[in-house]
Each structure stands twice: as structure tokens, then as C-alpha cells.
């Protein structure tokens, strides 16, 4: 069995995280921004699991499971906020929401 080198996994995780950062910075749709945040959490999770494999220690995987749990809660609350925004402003585009700026 030829193992997957952790360095390659780190590069993949890096690319996914970069895509997430770009998405958060460039998109205006709040749902897409949440999806980009999910991509970044997945990239971090991939790193945790890869390092768990590299050091032959299970703590990384346990942390990965907790990350998935927290991501589920975060998405539920985030999408509820998106729904509340839509009711209030009739829009889910983040540049339409600027109550604190005016």
C-alpha cells in the first residue's frame, strides 16, 4: 500500500482554502459566501486528518469530527440569518444590507 504523502494533501487543502477566501471576498450573495466558508472549514479539516495520519495519532481525526459538528451548527444558524435578512430586506446580497453604515 503506497500511502498518500501529507505534503500533497496540504497543497490540496491550500488550494481549497484559497478558493474559499476568494469566494468570501468577491461574491455578494450571502448563500455563496456561506458555501465559501464551508470550503475553508473543509480545507482545515483535511489538514487535521492529514496531520493525524502523518503523526499516527488519532487526535486530529477527533478534532475533525468536532469541526464537522460545529460546521453543521454554523450552517444552520447562518442560513437562518440569511432567511431573516431576506424577510427584512427582500435581498440576500450583502451590499444591500448596510443598516450600520447609514
Amino acid at each position: 500500500m503506497m500511502p498518500v504523502p501529507p505534503q500533497s494533501v496540504v497543497i490540496v487543502s491550500l488550494l481549497l482554502f484559497g478558493i474559499g477566501v476568494l469566494g468570501v471576498l468577491t461574491r455578494r450573495n450571502a448563500i455563496i459566501i456561506l458555501m465559501s466558508i464551508e470550503l475553508m472549514m473543509n480545507a482545515a479539516n483535511l489538514n487535521l486528518v492529514a496531520f493525524s495520519r502523518q503523526h499516527a495519532h488519532l487526535t486530529g481525526q477527533v478534532f475533525g469530527i468536532f469541526t464537522i459538528t460545529v460546521a453543521a451548527g454554523e450552517v444552520a444558524v447562518g442560513l437562518a440569518i440569511v432567511l431573516a435578512l431576506y424577510r427584512r430586506f427582500n435581498s440576500i446580497y450583502v451590499d444591500d444590507v448596510r443598516l450600520m453604515k447609514e
Binding site: 498518500v4 490540496v12 491550500l14 481549497l16 484559497g18 478558493i19 468577491t26 486528518v49
Partner: protein, 176 residues
């Protein structure tokens, strides 16, 4: 050590994960973004299997590809979508792209520096007989319920709070 199918699988899954990730932020239609997201999640679950983290892979498929995607699709269908250009006005878009590229560059530098120190440990763990060669559910379960028992219970409370919060936030107060 004979080269198995893992390297090819790894490259295919990585390409799918990254390509689908690009689709998430590049497509105009949020439904297409959601499809890209679920594809990316499933490819990452495959990567977890290659890394011998079978339980994390199963949790990934159940929670992300199952629960979270359904939530995303429901909200996309609930809100009214108007077509708009995806990027901000030119100057701010360029600024955002520059900031993103800078962050990616910094992380590439960090990953490049980490390689020097990481190789020895990776090689030694690769040479060993691999304690988790055939599934690790039992070991993960033991770790989860002994070392990580308190975080585990706190996570359950967190999920309860998130659920109640989501219900309260998403409720339409004006109609009641």
C-alpha cells in the same frame, strides 16, 4: 513497496475537489454552486478514506453531503433570486482578488517551509506497518469517549443551542 492505486486516486479526487470548489465561487446560478459544493464534499470524503480516516469520511458524507446540502438547497429555493454580476465593482473586485492571492501566496510559502521539517516524520510513519490499516472506527470511538468526552458533550449542547437559535431566527415574527 508496490505502488497501488492510491496516487492516481489521490490526484483524481484532489482535482475533482478543487475543480468543484472553483465551480462554487464561479457559477452565476446558486444551484450550480450547490452542486459544485456537494461534489467537492464527496471528493474530500474520498480523500479521507485514502488517509485511512473512514469514520471522518462517513461523517463528512452524512453531515455535509446529506444535511448541510439539503439546508442550502432549501434556502436557495426559499429566497427569490435575481440575476446580478458576481463580482463587486471593478476596483473593489481587483482589491479582493489581490488580497486573496496574497493570502494564498503566504500559505504556499508556509507550506513550502513546512515540507523540509515534515518529510522525515512522514517517511517514518509511511514505513511503519500502519496501525489503522483496516478501518479505525473502534479507535476513534474510544478516543472520542475517553480523551474527548467533555468536548463531545459540549458539542451536543452547542448543536442544541444552534438548533434553537436557527428556529428562532428563521421564524416569521410578523405573521404571529
Amino acid at each position: 513497496m508496490t505502488p497501488g492505486p492510491e496516487p492516481i486516486l489521490f490526484y483524481v479526487l484532489s482535482a475533482v475537489a478543487v475543480g468543484a470548489g472553483v465551480q462554487v465561487i464561479a457559477s452565476r446560478n446558486p444551484i450550480h454552486s450547490a452542486i459544485g459544493l456537494v461534489t467537492s464534499f464527496l471528493a474530500i470524503a474520498g480523500l479521507y478514506v485514502l488517509l485511512h480516516a473512514e469514520f471522518v469520511a462517513a461523517a463528512q458524507v452524512l453531515v455535509y453531503a446529506g444535511g448541510i446540502m439539503v439546508l442550502f438547497l432549501f434556502v436557495i429555493l426559499l429566497v427569490n433570486l435575481r440575476d446580478r454580476p458576481p463580482l463587486r465593482p471593478r476596483l473593489r473586485g481587483a482589491f479582493a482578488a489581490a488580497a486573496g492571492l496574497l493570502a494564498i501566496g503566504a500559505m504556499f510559502v508556509a507550506a513550502g517551509r513546512g515540507r523540509l521539517e515534515g518529510t522525515a516524520a512522514g517517511a517514518s510513519s509511511a514505513g511503519g506497518p500502519g496501525a489503522a490499516a483496516t478501518g479505525n472506527l473502534e479507535a476513534v470511538g474510544t478516543a472520542l469517549f475517553t480523551e474527548a468526552l467533555l468536548p463531545f458533550e459540549i458539542a451536543s449542547v452547542l448543536l442544541l443551542v444552534a438548533m434553537v437559535g436557527a428556529i428562532v431566527l428563521a421564524r416569521d415574527l410578523r405573521r404571529e
